[in-house]
């Protein structure tokens, strides 16, 4: 059973002051749970190691996909293939951050990789800021968390310039390149996630600006412009596959811009490989039976309870849980049915006394750097709650 500690929730006024305005879900229930998951130091350590190990495996498997021309197999849209390759092969395209979704890690259950949100991870604000605020609100000054998300992101921002582990030479090497931060207009969670990242980049020492995607001008030969100012660095919290499928002209322009070395884009296009559920099958091929992995296949698994998920699905949509004989147990409808499916061995998530399930979100910015949980039913969706943690 998951061990929980009750806490006083944060009042909405304070949350909004913090910039966290998506505190209430579409069914009017609070998005933030009024409990913390209790995690032992040993469990936290195991999460830390698991994230680092998994990332090394992702890099190995990424090299394999590129070398063996498997981008089509894992569902990378054809109009991003050149950009994915270029970003992989040129070291300036540094991965800023991602979030592993993991089963287990607490309650005696082994850690298993469910997927890697490598391209556009949210829950950043909750993990980096809000769960510290919960400790503060509850006077838990001496309580601890596995949560260096803010500090590690700040360091990794500096690495975009130093391109090595050490960030000491950032100020020496940074030549004032302007950094533009972008979301799609109309969603405040995405916008404030981006503004938080911008804030951290500011603190790291960059010259930054924010603009909605529709305000930005793209020129294949000259680069990225906002209000006539050229930006050499661009962060976009917009999924690469959306760019490929909904705005193919933009995909073409960004490819030109990157090939012409006019801008560097974060997260890099190769993170779309990591993000594809199809990549999980490649991982299983390369590391069959690895303790951190679940069996994964492009075909239904024989005689095993399994989860069927589209290569590029979001918020649990178009996900189904199947019996070994193919019978559908749970099924969330969605708009992602058109993507090819991955079949992944089912694993039970840790539960609390009320039977609610907990899935760990482990942030990664050059190394594992922070932990948070989502709580929901069989399939996590956009009504799942965020649950903070405390190390005991």
């Amino acid at each position: 059973m998951v061990s929980l500690r009750p806490v006083e929730p944060l009042d909405t006024h304070y949350l909004e002051e913090l910039g966290f305005v998506w505190h209430t879900d579409s069914d009017e229930s609070p998005y933030l749970a009024d409990v913390l998951v209790e995690v032992t130091e040993k469990e936290a350590e195991a999460y830390y190691e698991a994230g680092n190990t998994l990332y090394e495996m992702f890099v190995e498997a990424g090299e394999y996909v590129i070398e063996h021309n498997l981008l089509h197999e894992i569902g990378i849209p054809f109009n991003l293939v050149d950009l994915v390759r270029e970003s992989w092969e040129n070291e300036v395209h540094w991965h800023l951050y991602g979030r592993f979704d993991l089963a287990g890690g607490i309650d005696g259950k082994p850690i298993k990789l469910l997927e890697f949100n490598a391209d556009t991870p949210t829950a950043l604000f909750e993990t980096a800021i809000i769960q510290w605020a919960i400790l503060k609100r509850n006077g838990m000054e001496e309580a601890a968390q596995f949560n260096l998300v803010y500090e590690k992101l700040l360091e990794n921002f500096k690495r975009l310039v130093t391109l090595e582990e050490s960030v000491e030479l950032f100020h020496e090497r940074y030549e004032g390149w302007r950094f533009l931060f972008t979301s799609v207009r109309g969603n405040v969670e995405e916008e404030n996630t981006v503004r938080l990242l911008q804030h951290i980049a500011d603190e790291a020492g960059y010259t930054t600006e924010f603009a909605y995607i529709d305000e930005i001008e793209f020129d294949g030969e000259e680069g990225i412009f906002y209000q006539e100012e050229n930006y050499e660095l661009w962060f976009k919290l917009i999924p690469w596959e959306d760019i490929a499928l909904e705005e193919p002209d933009l995909a073409r322009l960004l490819t030109r811009i990157v090939l012409n070395r006019k801008a560097i884009i974060f997260n890099p296009a190769y993170t779309l490989m990591f993000q594809s559920k199809g990549f999980l099958k490649i991982l299983w091929d390369l590391y069959p039976g690895h303790p951190l992995l679940l069996e994964s296949s492009f075909e239904p698994l024989e005689g095993k309870m399994q989860v069927k998920k589209p290569f590029f699905g979001r918020e649990g949509e178009s996900v189904a849980i199947l019996e070994g004989d193919g019978t559908v147990l749970v099924d969330l409808p969605g708009e992602y049915d058109a993507f090819p499916p991955l079949y992944q061995e089912y694993v039970e998530l840790p539960r609390d006394s009320e039977g609610r399930k907990y899935q760990a979100g482990l942030f990664f910015a050059y190394e594992s750097c922070g932990l948070g949980y989502r709580r929901g039913g069989e399939i996590m969706n956009n009504l799942s709650k965020f649950v903070g943690h405390v190390v005991v």
Partner: protein, 204 residues
Amino acid sequence: MKYIKRLSQISTGVGVGALLAVGLSGCQQKPADQAAAVQPQQKNAFVVIEEVTPGKYKIAEEFPAKETRIILKKLDGTEKVLTKAEMDELIKKEAAKIEQGTSPLTSPEGAQMTSGGMSIGQAILASAAGAILGSWIGSKLFNNPNYRNARRAGYKSPSAYNRSVNSFKKGARGSSSRARSTRRSGFFGGGSRSMGMGRSRFGG
């Protein structure tokens, strides 16, 4: 373990500590909820102002452009490009009237008074060029609802106004002014699929 930290170890003045104290919007110059307020367009404009009756002018066309230019089309068919000095002088005069509250641009009756045409100075200020050249007038104009009504009335036809607004919104480069430009913008102009205060549809 070095990756586990106590709340008491977080310093108050910087990083997470600063955010916990004042919040993200407190750290920013422009809070998110004000971002949508009416603001002067920062781009340059190419504007055609046409004389409709003797001494009365309307905005016939305007496009985003690399530099701000105003073309004056007189009733007799002649065209004239206004110099920077001429533009500045006209704006200065009109700005003085705004200051004194006597300009039709910012008075409640402005929309009626300007519906038959404006002086050249008013037309410039009502155009996108005014937004750029007269940016020092700033909030006096842009947050004045009368100005917005008068501005709309100052166009030769409703379609000229709409075309102008749309071309600036999209930042699309007008074909007449930047025919050779390859810049594109307006991507994802329909906004987010999960609008408003709700949660993001991706990332999880």
